[in-house]
Symmetry: C2
């Protein structure tokens, strides 16, 4: 069946309206169920997805030459999947050939296509879970949720923001002005024009969650997209692009509206793509070295949205639930082995300790309690495997070894047995105590399960260190624990200025690592952790311009 | 009387609401009357303004040392006004000291202050007209309108866009999510946080019209502002800043929320200001050389909005009002001696001429008719002085001399007697015929009363040249004349893609040079003429970020 774009727009209209309302209201909303339940996704969905995933292994993903790809699951073996690779001129030429038809479609039709893509991606979330798990190394449950429904919600959110912006532009207006005795009457036409080819450069840890905002913001604003995945996590974006191309073709558009552009570490193409004169928009998630290159080389001429390194702080002042604090923080340090861009690294603690509901707790006591909470969380191997997942890159293990030497080891990192995955690359959180003066230790991002317990003069000094580091070195999240409203107010002011999303007194089932679609603003653009928020008007508004044609009205 | 910010917000609420509605609807709207009428502004306003202007001459504008300033009226004599100059560290220190109080005010209060500033600037439009006339060289009527009410409308428009964006962010929300059996409830606070110090770098031709969008967009989003005027046009922005500081002080804010930062051609400070780490936003109107420096040096790290050179095309295909076409175009070429960023430079004409209501007109005939229309427009010296104004910079006269050599002179530029201003620097439009292949002649901006009549193979080739030049070299406006709807549709598509505001078949009292506040989008950001539209959401949305604090709701 050929599904026309207009039919897709009608089919998904209610979802889009809900999403726009949710983004305005910023309460809880999700269009795509996060529970990996057979009742929702079909009782056979999981088994079928595993079979489908296994069928993908050790084969070319699609025809074409040359074939490249050397993904290895952090849980064990090589995937053996290869992908056809095009060079940059060929990618650009195909993108340009596809551009006109897509730009000419109405925003409503493009939104309909986007929502159908998201709908099918949602249907296939179990397959995506396998692909995300075996490229990023996430535990299965996280791979399902963050790689599937949560990423889809982020994509929908970008569609909602863009439609909100596009919806402000009246298609036509009659302009009438009395100028002395003469009445001037013009008919004006307005329309949003895409900025050009969008390049989305993916990361190895959250390829879909971090990639979908840029992909869908580009698509709905009429831009064609070239998706350049990280060489270690191609498959999740290859599946995404395959689904998108199928929907585009069914709706009567060129498949090349979106293209996959895999590359290898030996012959990277991201810089060449980003710098190409036909490219108008670059979305990048990755390290600050390439981020800086992008900011300097393309930032002044193109729309550039980056998410780079964050060094996320925790400030302890006081608590009325010390056990909850430790449990909650242990989970945040352990989840996906500290490889979330929102995971805490630096725990700023007064040297004289803090007041708690269990009485005064000294600095060393806090360290021991946190270590014990991590141990308790990871005691059961099955649970540990689910929470920790695996370590995406071997370089992270080297960083752990180096970090051990930087201070007093309060809790050492070790490997854990992952049931069913004897070759899994694992590492539990390392907790190292240092003095606040040891900025060479804690003042840079040490990506992975590495955290510092930082001895500060007092709680105000802890807050100052944390906020200053966030402002100058970058951070995405911060967590503060205090029973004192005045201290919380100071923290709110300091972290607002630093451009960090602040969580306070988390002791239960919400974690500082989590950023909820439609409600939380992810990244601020106000510190070195990234140039842009992924979830505000500025993220979409510069992906198009408004064209005008005006003429005297017919008499 | 100390007017509290809240009272100002209430006083101007209706104006703001009207402005927001107008920016949405994009019909005609103006809050500030463009007619320089005694009935509106007071019968003595003009005489009082002239006296006030004369009292400013040959005096320091304000106390302080060192005093700098060497403005010369293009209409004749030196102004003799000097201004206290601060160095960059002092400007930044004062801006930072003023920042906290301004950032802490509500958007509504800041908007109230902005609208009071605009209200007082409007009241003083006759004085502004004198200041603009005798720095930019504009004719008096244009100096009044473009320097006064039209600039004020642009400022109000920026306030409206910013309030629209700021108004989307709910100050607080309760977020409730059912997670299995557990109900997660968070209270979240959101607020817009200014990006940092804004630097607005002014131009010599439209210091207020081009400066107000950035100034007011910054102020209302909570950023403090340093206004760096062009050394040749300090006075209009000095008056603006003085008015703004008075309102700020009365409303209880630090005067240094806005500062004037004059400099000299020998010791320019714009680069040092723009690059300072405390500066987060740069607005620039001026030439592409410094524009490129800004794009490369600060564009990737800061919010940068530039308006640079535009080479605006006209395409002639056919017309049913040849006389009107010539009259209208003659006015557009003559108005302010071609020194508007929206003035046409390149007239692309089929070598075999065009069909008109007066029969077929050949290429040479069109040139003669245009020349005659310019002559007729400028025959009366008083009218000529009003339309042409004067030439702001002596360098423009050199450019005219050089342009004469580039082809066949169809109409030569000459000086005109400006009644009452014997030393005025004047130049009428130069019209030079060249072949389309002579891109070295017409392919760059030749700022001033210089236009090329470009001989093209046919109308489609004319359109192709015009659109390609706009895309690759930059343009802000385009004008096309055609009686063929299919040709107009092709022109609309081509100039939409090129990011140019298109006018069609203008033969009456609307001119391609004019950009109406609240309706026309000025600059697209989609070609080299500038990085940003001055009048859309993207212009305001990256001047602030959204800060969040969330905590578990009290049980």
């Amino acid at each position: 069946m050929i599904a026309a774009a207009a039919a897709l727009a009608a089919k998904h209209r209610a979802t889009l309206d809900q999403a726009i309302a949710a983004a305005r209201g910023r309460g809880h909303f999700s269009a795509y169920p996060e529970a990996p339940s057979g009742k929702i996704y079909g009782e056979t969905a999981k088994a079928e997805a595993e079979a489908a995933f296994n069928a993908l292994l050790n084969h070319p993903f699609a025809a074409g030459a040359p074939q490249i790809g050397a993904e290895r699951s952090p849980w064990g073996s090589a995937l053996g999947v290869t992908y056809p690779a095009l060079d940059v001129p060929a990618l650009i030429a195909r993108a340009e050939a596809a551009a006109r038809g897509w730009a000419g479609a109405s925003p409503e039709d493009r939104a309909g296509v986007c929502l159908e893509i998201l709908h099918r991606l949602n249907r296939d979330s179990f397959l995506m879970a396998q692909a995300v798990m075996h490229t990023t190394g996430q535990g299965w449950a996280m791979a399902f949720q963050a790689g599937g429904p949560h990423a889809q919600d982020r994509g929908l959110e970008a569609v909602a923001y863009a439609m909100e912006e596009l919806g402000r532009i009246p298609p036509a207006v009659r302009w009438t002005k009395q100028a002395g005795k003469e009445q001037l009457v013009l008919d004006k036409l307005f329309r949003a024009v895409p900025r050009g080819i969008g390049v989305v450069i993916g990361c190895a840890t959250f390829p879909t969650w971090n990639g979908y905002p840029g992909i869908f913001a580009n698509l709905v604003t009429g831009n064609v997209v070239i998706v350049k995945p990280h060489p270690a996590a191609i498959l999740p974006l290859a599946l995404t692009v395959r689904t998108a191309r199928a929907v585009l073709a069914e709706a009567g558009f060129a498949e090349d509206v979106i293209q996959l552009a895999p590359d290898t570490p030996d012959a990277p193409i991201a810089a060449q793509l980003a710098a190409h004169e036909a490219v108008g928009i670059v979305d990048f998630t990755g390290g600050p070295a390439f981020g800086r290159w992008l900011r300097e080389q393309v930032g002044g001429r193109k729309a550039l949205h980056t998410e780079e390194a964050g060094i996320n702080p925790v400030v302890l002042h006081s608590t009325d639930d010390f056990a909850g604090l430790c449990r909650n923080l242990a989970f945040s340090l352990s989840l996906y082995s500290g490889q979330m861009c929102t995971a805490p690294q630096n725990l700023f603690v007064p040297q004289d300790g803090i007041a708690t509901d269990e009485g005064h707790k000294g600095f060393d006591e806090i360290g021991r309690a946190l270590a014990a909470a991590v141990d308790a969380l990871l005691k059961d191997p099955g649970r540990a495997a689910g929470v920790l997942g695996t370590v995406q890159s071997p370089a992270t293990l080297d960083r752990i070894a180096e970090a051990r030497k930087l201070g007093q080891v309060v809790r050492d990192s070790g490997s854990v047995d992952m049931p069913g995955f004897p070759e899994a690359r694992s590492a539990t959180p390392l907790l190292v105590a240092v003095d606040a003066g040891a900025r060479e230790a804690w003042g840079e991002e040490r990506f992975g399960p590495i955290a510092f317990l930082i001895r500060c003069a007092d709680a105000d000094a802890a807050l100052d260190h944390a906020a200053h580091s966030a402002r100058t070195r970058g951070a995405i999240t911060a967590l503060v624990h205090s029973t004192d409203e005045a201290f919380l107010a100071r923290a709110e002011a300091a972290f607002a200025r630093a451009g960090v999303a602040l969580s306070e007194n988390l002791t239960g089932g919400v974690f500082v690592n989590q950023s909820a679609a439609f409600s939380d603003y992810h990244v601020s653009g106000a510190n070195p952790a990234g140039t842009s928020c992924l979830t505000d008007a500025a993220f979409v508004a510069n992906r198009f311009h408004i064209a005008m044609a005006r003429r005297p009205a017919a008499a």
